[in-house]
Symmetry: C2
Subunit: 219 residues, 2 copies
């Protein structure tokens, strides 16, 4: 087990409130990241926070952030300033017997660190492969590879998954005993939320062609 097997090496990445929601296993961080399509990248610009939705992929203990070299925010984020990347998955709505105990089931990760641009051409291709396969599994081999010009227009930052925390709420509501003992209790429980794929919409320019298994049978 590597030293990275557990999380929370620093004070600011230690869960302070509701510590029972902390998930300290690195595998839980991986599972969350691999199941989400977008992260929220926070940087400080002129003393104020800026939070932007950003495509990403995880490769081992590296998080790749993906964007355009034309993005001032991504350039700023890659200049060595502190960044915070947060990924959140909503798992369900928690209906309680009281307004107060209504909640959400969720899993979230907060990652702190400094990101660096991936410049080396081989490393960049490796990172773009990870990002593409995360966004659209199977597309790397099925579609045209990037040209030099396209590579130059693409920015990838690498952020080590070193300083991170994971929180999760699961299970039924935690109501007050007096509410649960009421003669006629209101319904209480969890309404799960799932993300599902719809029917593929072919590009109008496309000739008659069925969508391939990597699209129609995407897990």
């Amino acid at each position: 087990m590597s030293e990275l097997a557990s999380l929370s090496p620093t004070q600011r990445s230690t869960v302070k409130r509701l510590p029972e929601r902390e998930r300290a296993e690195r595998a839980e961080l991986y599972q969350l990241l691999d199941s989400c399509l977008v992260c929220h990248l926070g940087i400080v610009v002129d003393g104020a926070p800026l939070v932007l939705p950003t495509g990403f992929a995880r490769d081992g203990d590296t998080l790749y952030l993906h964007g355009s070299t034309g993005s001032a925010s991504l350039r700023a984020a890659g200049a060595g300033i502190p960044v915070c990347v947060t990924v959140t998955r909503i798992d369900g709505i928690v209906y309680a017997r009281s307004v107060f105990h209504h909640s959400m089931n969720y899993t979230s990760a907060v990652i702190h660190g400094a990101a660096t641009p991936v410049i080396d051409p081989d490393a960049k291709l490796h990172a773009l492969h990870a990002v593409t396969e995360h966004l659209a599994p199977g597309s790397w081999n099925a579609t045209r590879q990037p040209t030099g010009k396209e590579l130059a227009a693409t920015a990838v930052l690498a952020l080590p998954l070193h300083e991170a925390s994971v929180k999760q709420r699961t299970g039924p509501p935690k109501d007050e005993p007096q509410d649960m003992a009421a003669d006629v209790a209101d319904w209480a429980g969890v309404l799960p939320i799932h993300q599902v794929w719809g029917t593929p919409l072919p590009d109008p320019h496309l000739g008659p062609m069925p969508a391939p298994p990597r699209v129609v049978a995407r897990p």
Copy 2:
């Protein structure tokens, strides 16, 4: 039409890259916010960004952020420092004929400003009503109202929806002409993503009782 009918009153809330993705109508901001369950609240702590998933609701041109009075981050966010709130909905995966033009269809809003705690008891009840009905429509009237102690443990911040920008990508991939003209083009199009409700999971402590319409028939 109020002066708030359009967005982007400041330089930092003006979409700089891909301006064709900007959505300048206030109604599009409302629609996005009302369709999402969680926002990402960014603040600056000790010079570094901190981004936290946060429950919220929109009421007119006010965004209410919801949490616990025990949350140091929410207390900090309510102390008048600049905050950035970002809300993102992923609408589909854009499969292109080239790796480079793969993308996501999405709608996102970035809101800048300063948040203030909602203290007045009537105003706080009003805000909590909005937050509860956003999270669990119908629950405000169907479940026990907050006690004074519960109200005191609940923090609500108000952020004016004044300085905001909305971006959206829709439609098919934008491939290069030479890729679209290839003899055997790869499939290209959009795989939509939908959020759906699962089967309600009753609290194990609950007696036999069907889930109410506000849960089973939630839109």
